[in-house]
Symmetry: C5
């Protein structure tokens, strides 16, 4: 999964069936230190994430399994809102509380 | 999902079964500001998108689920025609109305 | 889907079941103007594409759905032989007839 | 599959169903010599891998098949904790015991 | 599919169910001329490929379909051992017999 920061919204009236009622958020991928990496993309959200939240995003074919019995044509979905991360590189500890 | 701009069409007479009747559009990926990023690709379309439209494209294995009971061998499909996006980076707001 | 040009063949006697009788072609990815982009790869073919043909290639998990009831372990398949493409960038029209 | 080194943890209270009870680890991809390559990502873990372990990670749609009857929306999972690798390039042998 | 050269082995005692008895080989991706491209990765093998063999590798979600009734969490699998390739670029023919 990738870590990302919610930076915006996308609205689309005409869309494929199955996407009705699902929020579409613009995600800026970040590393564990919060630095922006790569290009923004759009992810579906059912958890109620808001602009500024750090989130965990699943990409690819597994995304559609947020509803097992009803796969929908999406390729990125927010699966968690991150509370905190803890990373150890060599002798250094990096901790961060997100969304406080 | 990726944001893209429809820039053309592809025609193919000889094709795999299941692709009959599906439009094939050339998509230029763009960022939320409308700048071109990466290389163009081809996506299936059932929504009636036209050249110049900004669209939301699902890539990979989920694409085939535009018809759940009848998966077809495609890896990119237009799932929405974008009305507008709103992005907030730091203190700046960027809004854009598409397809006006 | 990606646009590619068929540039060769691969032969393998020892292979996984399910791949018997499927042709394996070397594909050079190209953009809509026919310029080579990225590295060549190998795609399965059931349409009878030949060296020099411009083709449409589906990658990833959807590839195996060329036979819905019999998914096979392939990650790239030719789904169409391109007749022509038409691309509009700004004020310029680019048309091309392929495989003539 | 990719080789990676476990470098940290991610905690998320609000998450999609099906992710309850699954550990989320930060992975630094490495080559067979242990050098860091590319950007860190997050993988699910059911094997009990710890910080410092070298692991084998499956990405993409297959990840969800750690429980065949219960696919979950993840795109990276630790499928093995590496004991050792042996690589032969030209005339040189490179062996390494991991996690000792 | 990608062309690769088998350059080594990976051993893991603790692993996910379903991976028991499957060999894990280190693959160096190569182009049709045999030049190394990109970073090595690990693929499952049931065909008995050995170090030095040129092989055809399927990546992503289709990999798990080497056993249709028993999908396993792998994202790369050797589907063929290459006998030979033939590539035509412009007026030049490139043939190569592999594994002789």
């Amino acid at each position: 999964m990738r870590i990302g920061k919610v930076i915006g919204n996308v609205w689309a009236t005409r869309k494929e069936d199955g996407l009705q009622g699902i929020r579409l958020l613009v995600i800026q991928p970040v590393d564990t230190k919060g630095n922006s990496i790569r290009t923004e993309f759009v992810a579906a959200d059912r958890l109620g994430a808001g602009v500024g939240d750090h989130v965990l995003v699943t990409s690819g074919g597994s995304s559609r399994y947020i509803d097992k019995d009803n796969p929908i044509p999406i390729d990125a979905v927010i699966i968690g809102i991150i509370d905190s991360t803890e990373v150890k590189r060599g002798e250094t500890d990096e901790s961060s509380d997100r969304n406080d």
